[in-house]
């Protein structure tokens, strides 16, 4: 009982955090500097990485879906929900697999996650437009994801090391 309450609280706090991060990121879009649709730093992905490393895949999935749904409610945009959900789920799956690959650090995991997120978004856009034309945007987005992935990777290494939340038991 106490355990499940702890788990629920933990997920709720992380969901709120992820939502706040993604809203803040939306206020200062990276695309002002580089005019590329869909480009963002992906800081909300930090929460997903953290949840994958310190909690479990199931909890990470729950946090992600809740964040996307709440984000759509806050932003009031259903199309955006399709984008963030496809991107987020693809990124989550990729990182979940890659975290199990030996010899890979969080840099590589986050770069692949960012690339998967962009691919998912473009796939969703292809579905919305019913045209493969938008895939042109994927090339610069993938190139950018190496940079944004490296930034979030560095941040997530600090985060996962310094906040060993999931390991403490008791209280």
């Amino acid at each position: 009982m106490t355990h499940s309450v702890r788990r629920l609280t933990r997920c709720a706090v992380l969901t709120a955090l992820a939502l706040a991060i993604s809203v803040c990121e939306g206020l200062v879009p990276l695309s002002i500097l580089i005019p590329l649709p869909g480009l963002r730093l992906g800081l909300a992905n930090l929460v997903t990485v953290y949840a994958l490393c310190r909690l479990s895949g199931r909890e990470a999935l729950g946090i992600l879906v809740a964040r996307c749904l709440l984000g759509a409610v806050v932003g009031g945009n259903l199309t955006a929900l399709a984008f963030s959900l496809t991107g987020g789920l693809l990124a989550l799956g990729t990182m979940w697999v890659l975290l199990r690959v030996p010899g890979l650090s969080l840099f590589g995991v986050c770069i692949a996650g960012a690339a998967a997120h962009n691919t998912g978004q473009i796939l969703a856009a292809m579905g919305v437009l019913a045209s493969p034309a938008i895939a042109v945007y994927l090339a610069p987005l993938l190139a950018a994801s190496v940079l944004t992935g490296a930034v979030t990777g560095a941040a997530s290494i600090l985060l996962v090391r310094r906040v060993p939340w999931g390991n403490e038991r008791g209280t």
């Binding site: 695309s31 890659l98 650090s105 840099f107 770069i111 090339a139 993938l142 190496v146 992935g149 990777g153």
Partner: protein, 132 residues
């Protein structure tokens, strides 16, 4: 500790491989969608999967503004000899306006909120400007 990747603090060789693979994928997409040469440029304006207008850019002598009927957010295009752009759009993202002029075959302007795709293709000019 759940996973080994979470413990490393420095990038490894495999990380470099991941980055290289992503860049290679980007290069492959760029290659697949490379612009082709063509003297006659045609802009196809597709709104919500329906062809709204086809403008033969090479035949234009002066600037022409095009209103797209039925767009969710009012959008105005500007076309002139050999190029086309979104002059103004009421859409929230404004990505289409920021794309600027497109003057090469294979180039496109996409306004996602409007579900509008403008594709510039090169090739033979068979028909004059068709609007419908």
């Amino acid at each position: 500790m759940r996973s080994s990747a979470a413990d490393r603090t420095r990038p490894t060789l495999l990380d470099g491989l991941v980055a290289a693979a992503v860049l290679a994928a980007a290069a492959a997409i760029l290659f697949a969608f490379r612009p082709t040469s063509g003297n006659f440029l045609t802009a196809r304006i597709v709104l919500d999967n329906e062809l709204v207008a086809e403008v033969s850019l090479s035949d234009l002598t002066g600037p022409v503004t095009i209103e797209v009927p039925g767009a969710k957010y009012p959008i105005t295009l500007e076309a002139e000899a050999g190029r086309i752009r979104v002059l103004h759009s009421d859409c929230p993202s404004q990505d289409c306006v920021h794309t600027g002029w497109v003057s090469r075959s294979g180039g496109q302007i996409i306004c996602l909120p409007n579900r509008l795709v403008i594709t510039v293709t090169g090739g033979t000019a068979e028909a004059d400007a068709v609007t419908g």
